[in-house]
Structure formats: structure tokens, C-alpha cells
Amino acid sequence: MDAISSYYHSKRLRRVAVLGGLSALLFFTVIIGIMVGPVQVGPGLIMKVIYSRLPFLGNDVVQTWPQYYTSIVIDVRLPRVVLAMLVGMGLAVSGCAMQGLFRNPMASPYVCGISSGGAFGAALAVNIGLSYYFVPFGAFFFAALTVFVVYMIARVNGKVPITTLLLSGIAISSFFSALVSLMLYVSNERLERIVFWMMGGLWSAGWDKVAITLPFIVISVPVFTYLARDLNALLMGEESAADLGIEVEATKRFILALTALTVGACVAVSGVIGFVGLIIPHVTRLFVGPDHKVLIPASALVGGIFLIVTDLFARMVIRPSELPVGIITSLFGVPFFLSLLRRRRTEMGW
């Protein structure tokens, strides 16, 4: 076996090692996320409680712990940690795909007005007095609708140039932001709910929210990973990608639609959590390189880990109250990212 051949094979091994390592890290983060809180729960007990709730397997487990541990783990912390993981994954993986598609380091899951569209949907739902359960659907619907509108506006002769898409996204985004401000201005007593939603937080986490987000993440992470080859080709430029056999416009449409649905599902349950989708793909890229075959799943895992950890801070910093996690992600994420950026900028390739 010569040098090139062993390089080729070691690359594949490294991919497995990176993803395996990150998965293990994610698992530990989930356990820690459940452990920490006003009442500490040991890792052994967590495993037992979860195991006892598994279908079939858990039937013959004898409960040797007080019932309130079961409620803390199953009803409070597990759904919250799982929701943080799903939202982190969804935002990171969408940001990664957007940056690849736009070949632009500034792209985030919120380009094309997804966040402001979602914020408008949520504000509208709150303002017209819809019940709490409809707010996520309002957010989801308008997030997806905004992307569709932006795409249609940017379309010229059946093609959608990336710059036009970005510009019309920014324009529509400002438009919806203005509408949200208008709603905030007229919505006196409901103001608090809307503002909280816009700061991004996971305090209302529950299995109902997990159920909204889970299907989207379970679908989008593997699908984005399968699109890795197309995204890699797109990094060579649109014309080169077409010369490599990629149907560029169709791929663009598909990635955009998938992002809109994924981010819509995240925004719907957690509000607008900033910077995760922008920073996590960049940080991951610094460590695993530009190949989307590794970058997409690795970003998802890192995003999941990051949001669980930051949500832990959000819960613990000003106990017994808590901070919106969106504040923590930016406060801690940004300095960390900037220091990385300064040290390793040349390796990023933008």
C-alpha cells in the first residue's frame, strides 16, 4: 500500500472516528444536561429511569427510586435536553448547507428572511389571540412562506442567481421585521410573550414540542448528508458543478426548501436563537475541513452539543429564574468564534 492509498483509506477512518467521537460526546452531554439542575440526578439513576420507560425492555424493571425522580428526568429535563439537541442540530446543519450553497461565510439558516418571517408568524398568532399551541404553527408557516416568496422574487428566466436571492432575502427580511415592530408597538399586554419568543429560549420545552421538531431533524440531517457531494461540487462554482453533472437550479430549490422546513421547525419551538447556525458550521469546518460528507453530520453533532451546554448555562446562571438561551449562545459563542477566526482565518477558505 503506497502513500496515496493509505492517505485515502485513513481519510475514511478519520471520518468514522470524528463522527463516532462526536456522537459519544453528544451522549455524555445529554446525560450531563439531565443530571444538572436544582435537584441533582446521578447518571446511573438517569439510565435506569430512562430504561424503565422503554417499551418492552423496561416492563420488568422494579422502581427503587422516588417517583419525583421519574418526573424530573422524563417530564422535565429529558424533553428539554432533547429539544435543545434537535434545535441545535437543525440550525447547525441548515447553516452549513446555506453556507455551502451560497458559497458565502455570512450565510446562516436565517438568510432569506426565515427568522423574521417566523417571528412575524409567531407575533401574528399571539396578537390575534390564538392559543399558545398555535404559535409554533404560525411561526413555521410564515418562515416557510417567506423563503418561498423570496425565491419567487429572485427568479429570473428560470434561474435564481445567488446574489439576487441574498438581496431579496435581506429586503423581505427587513419588511417582516418592520411588521413585527408594528405588532410589538400595538400589542401592549402581549408584548412580553412576543419579545421572549424573539430572544429565543427553550423554557417551554416538552414532549409536544419535541414531537413537532423531531420528524424534521430526523429527515433533514441524513438528507443533507446525502447532498454532501452536490454541496462539494457547488463549492467549485455553479458552472463547474453543472459540468460535474449537478442540476444546479433543482438542487438549489431542494436545499432551500429543506432548510426552510428544518429551520421553520426549530424557530417554531424555540424562537430565534442566534449565531448557532452561523458559528457552529464555521468552527466545525476549522477542525474537519470543507468536505461536506464529514462537515454536515459533524456540524449537526456539534450544534446539538453546543445548544445543550448553552441551555444548561441558561438554566443555571440566574437560578431560580433563567435566561433566554439565545442570549447565552451569542454572549459565549461570539467571543469564542472571534478568537478562532483571528487565529485560523486562512484555513477557512472564504
Binding site: 502513500a3 462554482g237 463547474s240 459540468d243 453533472g245 449537478i246 442540476e247 444546479v248 470543507p290
Partner: protein
């Protein structure tokens, strides 16, 4: 293998770029496309691979029209080396060459050992094997050019299209690239179509030349029949001497002067 282009025309909404282009090329042959700036060379190369859809005319490969093919199918037959490719992302050389296998892989298919072997062969042919693990973003222009040629070869194309592959290169690398594509045409029996600004290199390395002037074929045939003192005057507006150089066994052009009446005409 035969590529045949018949009465191909292409216009942008405001401007006609190509009119009634017809020519053919056979496997093992190097066809050079020459002509002044704005004569439609790059547009023609784009039309050949349907990156732009010509309004009229047909392009056939072995008698089959390519105009309705999917991008994937076109990419299995046409390999493209774009004008001054630049890859700013730190993919390794092997990664970039492996991307050439994209059109041959099904949606859920991973690259296999055979794809790897094909990529290695392409790297061997273009002498970039030693660079295998280097990030392409750190390579010199000439090295990137060869990596991109290797990527196109990994597509196992029947037609290799190159858009001024030598414009960014030193003279020694220019010769190398021209030499490489000609030997590829001979060895693999593929059709090589190459746009070049360098008349002397084109005359020396191409089997046939296609001289474009203002979107039309001015002349098509063996180099010494296409590049003549008369055609250079008519198309480029220069007074030139075309003479046989025994040392390299090829006709070569020496530009003596720019004919001022042509200059005034274009102002």
C-alpha cells in the same frame, strides 16, 4: 467517436453571439478554437456542453443529439476545464480529482475502489500524484490547472473541453499542458477541443483549427490552411508572416504590425 455541430446559432436577448456554426471533430483529434476577443469562443464551448442552450442547430455525439440530455449524462461524456479555475476551499488534491467521479455515481452510492483507481490514473497522467494530500487552495496556478484537468479526466469523458487552459501559465507549463492534452487525445482516443489565444502553440499542437470571427466560422481545417497571412489580416487586423519552422516541424506566426485602418474601424 464523432462530435458534429450543425448550423448552431446562439443569441442573448440583446445580441447574436454565434451564427450558423458547423464543424465536426473525431476521436484522437485536437481541435483548436481561435479568434479575437468577443468572437464567441467561450460561448461556443458553453453551447457544446449545453451550459447554454443554442436557439438553433444541433450537436450530436456519434449521431445522437445531446441537446436533450440531462446534466448528469452530459457530464459522463464531456469533461470541462474552465478558464483560470480557482478553488479557494482547502480540499485536498485527491478530493478534488475524486469529484470528477460525481456524474458516474448514483444518488446513494459511495465512491468505490474503482473510482479511486480512475482518479489515481488521472492524477498520474497529469503528474499531480505527488500533490495528493495538499490543499488545492495552496497550490500554484499551474498546479491547480493540472488538478482540474485530472478532475475532468476522472469523468472519463469522450470529449474534453478546455477554455484557455494556458493563459495563466508560464511558457514551460503552457507547453506541458498542450503536450499533455495531445497525448491524451492520442492515447485515449478522446476528442479534445481547446480554446487558445496563442496562435503558435495552437498551430503546433492542434490537428485542426476553427477560426471564429464575429460569431461565425471564418475558416476550419488544418492549422496551416486556417492561419494564413490573409486570414490574420482579415480577422485580427494584423500584418503577419506565417512560415514553416523546421526545428519544431510546424508553421509559426510572426506579427509584424497592426494595420491601422482596422484599428480605426474598431474604435
Amino acid at each position: 467517436m464523432e462530435l458534429r455541430v450543425s448550423s448552431l446559432s446562439f443569441s442573448y436577448p440583446s445580441k447574436e453571439v454565434l451564427r450558423d456554426i458547423s464543424f465536426s471533430a473525431a476521436g484522437g483529434e485536437v481541435l483548436g478554437i481561435i479568434g479575437p476577443n468577443g468572437s464567441g469562443k467561450t460561448t461556443l464551448l458553453r453551447c457544446l456542453r449545453m451550459a447554454l442552450a443554442p436557439q438553433r442547430g444541433d450537436i450530436t455525439l456519434n449521431g445522437k443529439s445531446v441537446t436533450a440530455w440531462t446534466r448528469g449524462k452530459i457530464a459522463r461524456f464531456f469533461g470541462v476545464v474552465p478558464q483560470s479555475p480557482s478553488i479557494s476551499f482547502p480540499f485536498s488534491v485527491l478530493d478534488v480529482v475524486m469529484m470528477g467521479r460525481t456524474p458516474h455515481l448514483r444518488r446513494f452510492q459511495q465512491e468505490g475502489h474503482r473510482d479511486y483507481e480512475i482518479a489515481r490514473e488521472a492524477m498520474r497522467l497529469t503528474s499531480v500524484e505527488a500533490l495528493y494530500g495538499r490543499p488545492v487552495s495552496e497550490l500554484s496556478g499551474g498546479e491547480v490547472q493540472r488538478v482540474v484537468i485530472a478532475r475532468a479526466l476522472a469523468q472519463q469523458p469522450h470529449v474534453l473541453l478546455l477554455d484557455e487552459p494556458t493563459s495563466q501559465l508560464d511558457i514551460n507549463h503552457q507547453m506541458e499542458v498542450m503536450h499533455l492534452v495531445r497525448s491524451l487525445a492520442r492515447k485515449k482516443g478522446i476528442i479534445v477541443i481547446i480554446i487558445s489565444h496563442d496562435l503558435n502553440l495552437s498551430m503546433r499542437y492542434c490537428d485542426k483549427l476553427l477560426l471564429l470571427s464575429d460569431g461565425r466560422v471564418y475558416e476550419h481545417g488544418p492549422p496551416e490552411a486556417v492561419v494564413t497571412e490573409e486570414s490574420l489580416e482579415k480577422v485580427y487586423g494584423v500584418a503577419a508572416t506565417v512560415a514553416y519552422n523546421a526545428a519544431i516541424r510546424s508553421h509559426q506566426v510572426t506579427i509584424r504590425d497592426v494595420i491601422s485602418s482596422y484599428l480605426e474601424g474598431t474604435e
